[in-house]
Structure formats: structure tokens, C-alpha cells
Assembly symmetry: C2
Homo-oligomer: 363 residues x 2
């Protein structure tokens, strides 16, 4: 079987850093092996650095980003609690669904797609919620919202933030912005394969930890006995050893390059996508001033693709050029493309390739 | 950093097959890439072969074995349902916990540790349960139970079976034995890294699928739109691409060798552990006639280790010889060792190494 070799410029996964790929093949260790525990501890310390937090409970959840979302909700709310959720895309909507399944009441504050979270409207939605939930970087719309403003205004409620497409790619300061619970995914700006959800939890949130959440697999009461502590670690579930080893290496690559340098690289690649696509006659979907660097949402003007459908153009990009970009989700399916420049993919040469290929197909 | 290179003879992870390790580094594909969908389909077809089933919904859950357990429960029962759980070790107990969190009522049928499931007692525990749940191969005790007998007697109830330490290592016939829902883990007899939970679901079980289970991440209503079907696949969560690619290759190695040959290799290695340990003055913990081939549970007679604690001996095995074996869980902690011969580890040379090392330490 011939292996396809893609340039991954969709909404994730990105191309992983070579360091992250190489680490997948290290000799397997047991999940209680002292050498693995040391590697896990170092991974978590690296995660603290990219989250900009000193939270003791900072670790990768053993599932993809959506498992992080579920862990972040079911561990902190349940029947009797109200959660105000800012919905400005697919992932805010997913939070509402998970809040309801947890037994808590969700108050959804709907926004027009392409717009950032309106902090005043979110605050006005309920007097005393247990939690506010929002998405820092909406993967469905390419919009970045102001987490710091929400953190400053949250009052007694917990603040939960989805950082799936922001962690490692744009500024994020969990402690300074008073975020209580944040989660991400490995396959976006961290430049690692999909499969883990880095998560961080404040002391304030831990004081309100649900003693028996509806999920056993994601129960932080037990997981924290494995991922933190100085002495022996209590077995909860078998950690995904190879993926954690890869995350450790990917984070090492990011921190070696320098978090600020990496973010500037994401910004430069995202800017190049946006200006290049405008030059090719496309439009930018996300509201000006709130456009996410690592993921550019592109509106396709009527007639711009001639007789071709947008799916056909994406298929030609994939088959003829080995370049993947993403289609739209939900209400913007068929109208919007999502072009990611994340992790190892966030390099100008990839943007040049994409723009050149698009020009050949629909120039 | 020097990399440790272990022979993994604990209860999992085992040493992965070289083919499974190599596949982790293939070029990353997107989760909607036609080439990845083809690989996923082929992975699921290989899983059907090792599960001995024609179930359409057969796929790897995006989490470790315990995520498979949770998916197998929350999707099929909820408030108002009764689940009879055979408990003959840690993992039966874990099922009880998850059943309760799902909102259903659990009726636990406790067994002495080291004994197999008593089908008659399980059947007598409730008149009309929604589900019977049992563990095929108890990882905490090294006991194999009779799934076929339970399947023949289940009546209208669904039968859920934990196959974490049996799939690929001992005989398992999901369809012939009338198993409705089964799940496993990749890091045991399949010889792949931990991180996925292969699962299979009968048509009969799908007819009773909970329309809105308490978990969003594990909701089979949505997941089946991604993992099955001929046309476009609906995005639910980003699949763990590299891990699935590795599972595909690991299953390929198993099927190339031949499932029966692989099982005989597990049996031979397990037999060598058991007879070798008896010769060294240890005893077998699991009830005779029900001893699991790939995982041998070993009782440590008083005084057999001289002045050394069992933890000290395991530590010397690990540090001086690079060999990992497992300690006991729960009530048998400190009294029992668990020695795995699973996946790539299931070879006589590893048993020879372990027995020789133990003889040097406590001979």
C-alpha cells in the first residue's frame, strides 16, 4: 500500500512535529513504571508552561478534545446547577448538549456565527450560575473571543474555557485571566497526533469537584490520584503511554523554539492565508478584529468557483496536490472553508503551496 | 535521556508488535480523508475477525479499555433499568460503579476472588434484568469465565462481556456465544499501545440503544454515523488517527500469523510461566481449570521471598533486569503477582528471562 503524504491545512489534525512523531516509537513503558511517571510529570510541567498556569492538576485527558470538554463539565456541575454557555459556533453548542446530559441546566446565549462572545450578554443571562462556559477559539468559525474580559467579570461562578484551537497558537494566560478549567487537543497548535486532551483545573474549581460525576472514565477524583502526588500513583485506567510520550516531545519542540516564536509563526502563516485568499477573490468570514491566527475561515463568493462545487475543489486539492483544507460545519456547510496553519503546518511554504494549488484549480 | 527498554510482563501494556510500532509514524491523515476512512474500515473488518462477529458496528472506541466499558454500559441502560453484574474481581466491581452512575440499578453477584463466574447464581439474581454483565478474563485474578454458558442462558436480556484480556489471546466467539456487546483494549493480547478500546455491538443491542446516553463523547448514536456507512462520514470527534493506524497494523500482524497460532503462542507462554513459577516454589492463585493463559496470577507463599518484600523483588526485576511484572490489586495487593504473556511479549524467551532473573534474585 502506497502511503499518502498530506499537507494538513484543515481544522485539525495538523502535520505533527517530527519530534512528536519520532517519540511515538520509543520502547513502551508500563503506566506505573517510575520512568514513565517521571515523563508524565515532565509533560504536565510543560503543559503548565503553555497554559501559563501553576495549577497542580494539569495533565492530558485520555481522549480527544471532546473528552476534555466532557471531563471539564461533568466533574464540576450536575443536577441543580445552572451553566451559562456562550454559543457562537458548533463547539459552544456541543457544550450545551454535554451540560444537559450532566443533569445541570444549560442557559445558551446564542451569537451570530462569525461573531465573538459578547461578555455583557453572557453575564446578563443569569444571576448566579455555577459556571460560565465559552470557547476561546471557535474551530467552526475561526473567531477568537476575549477570555480575559470574561475572567474579570465572572464573579463567584467557575469559568470554563475551550482552548482546543488556541493552546500553543495564540496568547492564553489561564492564571492571569482567572480561568478555572481549560482543555485543549493535541492535534491543533501543539503539533501532535490526535488522541489526548490537555486539561488544567484551578484550586478553586477543585474545591467544587463533584464527588461522583456521571462519568467514571473521566472522574477527576480518581484521576488526580494517578497524575499528581509525590509517592506511589494509584491505578485508575491504563494511560495512553505512546501518545503521552509523543505529547512530551511535541511540547519540548514548542518550548525549545520558544512559545512566543511559535505563536508569531502561527500568526505569520495565518496572515499569509488571509491576505492570499483575499487576493484570490475570496472573503474572510470571521468578524474583523476577532480573526483567529491559526485557523482562517474563508467565505466563498457566489460564482467564484465557476462550475465547480466547493467539495469538488477541496477534493482536487487533496487528490492532485495532497493538500487538505476543511469544509464548513452546520449552518455554514458548503459556504465556508476552514484553513488551518497549526503546529508544524504553520509555515509560509505550506501557505505558498496551497495558494499556488488553488490558483491552478480555480485561478 | 537514556531510554529504558523493558520486557513488559505485567497485566498490560505488553510489548507491542514491531509492525504496530512502525505504523505509528506513518504520515498523518485527516479523519475525513478517504484514505483514512478506508484504513478505518479495514481495521474494523480485522476486528470483526478477531471478535468472530459479523456485527456492522465494530470499531475502536477513542479511549482506553475503561472507556470501552463505559460506552458499553451508558449506551444501553439508564434510569429504570436493572443490570446484573457478575463480580469476581476489580473489573466486575468497576462495572457496578459505572452502571450506578448511568442511573440504572446494579445487582452485584459477588464471587470469591480467584473463582470463575457462577452462571446459575447470576441468573438467579434477578427475574428480568435489562442486561447481564460479566468479565471474560479477569485481569485482577487471572481467571477465565464461561461466556458461552451465559450467552445460552441470558433470555431476553442483553449480554455485555469485558474482553480486555481475552481478545486475541484466548478463544472468543462473539456471535456463536450470543454476546451482544463486547469491548477490549489494544495493549493486551492484540499487542498494540494502550489508547483504544475495540468494541462490537449486535443488531439486537442496537435496537435498544439509549437515544441520549449520559455521555456525549461515547454516544453511539453519533459515533456510528462516522464509523459505519458507505458514503460520507459525519464528524463526531476527531479520531485518534495514529493509534488507529497502529491498531490496523497490529491486527494485520496477528492475522498474518494466524489467530489460532497466536492463541497457541499465548497458551504456551502462559503454561511456561505457571509451571516455571511452581518449580520456583510459588503457587497458582486462580482456580484450577479456569486459569487464564495470557495472564498468570501467582500466590506468594509466606517466607518464599526471605527478608524481601514483594514490591522490592518487583523493583529489582525492573531495575536490574528491565523486566516488569504486576502486583496485586485490591484485596490481594501484596499477596499476588500478575505475570502477563500477551501480544509480542508472549514468547518463551521472555519467560526464560523472567524465571532466570527471579531465580537470581530469590533463588
Amino acid at each position: 500500500m502506497t502511503l499518502s503524504d498530506r499537507i494538513l491545512m484543515g481544522p485539525g489534525p495538523c502535520n505533527p512535529y517530527p519530534e512528536a512523531t519520532e517519540a511515538l516509537t520509543r520502547p513502551m513503558l508500563g503506566h506505573l513504571d517510575p520512568d514513565f511517571i517521571a515523563l508524565l510529570d515532565e509533560t504536565n510541567e510543560r503543559l503548565r508552561e503553555v497554559f501559563a498556569t501553576r495549577n497542580a492538576l494539569t495533565f492530558p485527558v485520555s481522549g480527544t478534545g471532546s473528552a476534555g470538554m466532557e471531563a471539564a463539565i461533568v466533574n464540576f456541575v450536575g443536577p441543580g446547577d445552572t451553566v451559562v454557555v456562550a454559543v457562537n459556533g458548533v463547539f459552544g453548542g456541543r457544550m450545551v448538549d454535554i451540560v444537559e446530559r450532566s443533569g445541570a441546566t444549560a442557559v445558551a446565549v446564542d451569537h451570530e456565527w462569525g461573531q465573538p462572545v459578547d461578555v455583557e450578554r453572557v453575564l446578563a443571562a443569569h444571576d448566579s450560575p455555577a459556571m460560565y462556559a465559552m470557547v476561546h477559539a471557535e474551530t467552526s468559525t475561526g473567531v477568537e473571543s476575549d477570555v480575559a474580559a470574561m475572567g474579570a467579570a465572572k464573579g463567584d461562578a467557575l469559568l470554563l474555557v475551550d482552548c482546543v484551537t488556541s493552546l500553543g497558537g495564540v496568547e492564553l494566560r489561564v492564571d492571569d485571566w482567572s480561568v478555572d478549567i481549560a482543555y485543549s487537543g493535541t492535534q491543533k497548535c501543539l503539533g501532535v497526533a490526535p488522541g489526548l486532551a490537555p486539561m488544567t483545573v484551578s484550586e478553586r474549581a477543585l474545591e467544587r469537584l463533584n464527588p461522583r460525576p456521571r462519568s467514571w472514565y473521566l472522574d477527576l477524583n480518581m484521576i488526580r490520584d494517578y497524575v499528581t502526588g509525590d509517592g506511589a500513583r494509584a491505578y485508575h485506567h491504563t494511560a495512553p503511554i505512546s501518545m503521552i510520550t509523543s505529547l512530551h516531545a511535541g511540547l519540548g519542540a514548542v518550548l525549545d523554539e520558544g512559545l512566543d516564536v511559535v505563536r508569531r509563526r502561527h500568526r505569520a502563516a495565518g496572515d499569509a492565508v488571509k491576505s492570499g485568499m483575499e487576493k484570490l477573490g475570496f472573503e474572510l468570514f470571521a468578524a474583523e478584529g476577532h480573526r483567529l491566527a491559526p485557523l482562517s475561515s474563508i467565505s466563498i463568493p457566489d460564482g467564484r468557483l465557476g462550475s465547480r462545487s466547493e467539495a469538488e475543489v477541496r477534493s482536487r486539492l487533496l487528490v492532485d496536490f495532497g493538500v487538505e483544507i476543511g469544509g464548513g460545519l452546520g449552518p455554514v456547510a458548503g459556504k465556508v472553508w476552514r484553513i488551518g496553519t497549526m503546529g508544524h503546518t504553520a509555515r509560509l511554504r505550506n501557505v505558498t503551496t496551497l495558494l499556488g494549488a488553488l490558483d491552478e484549480i480555480v485561478g
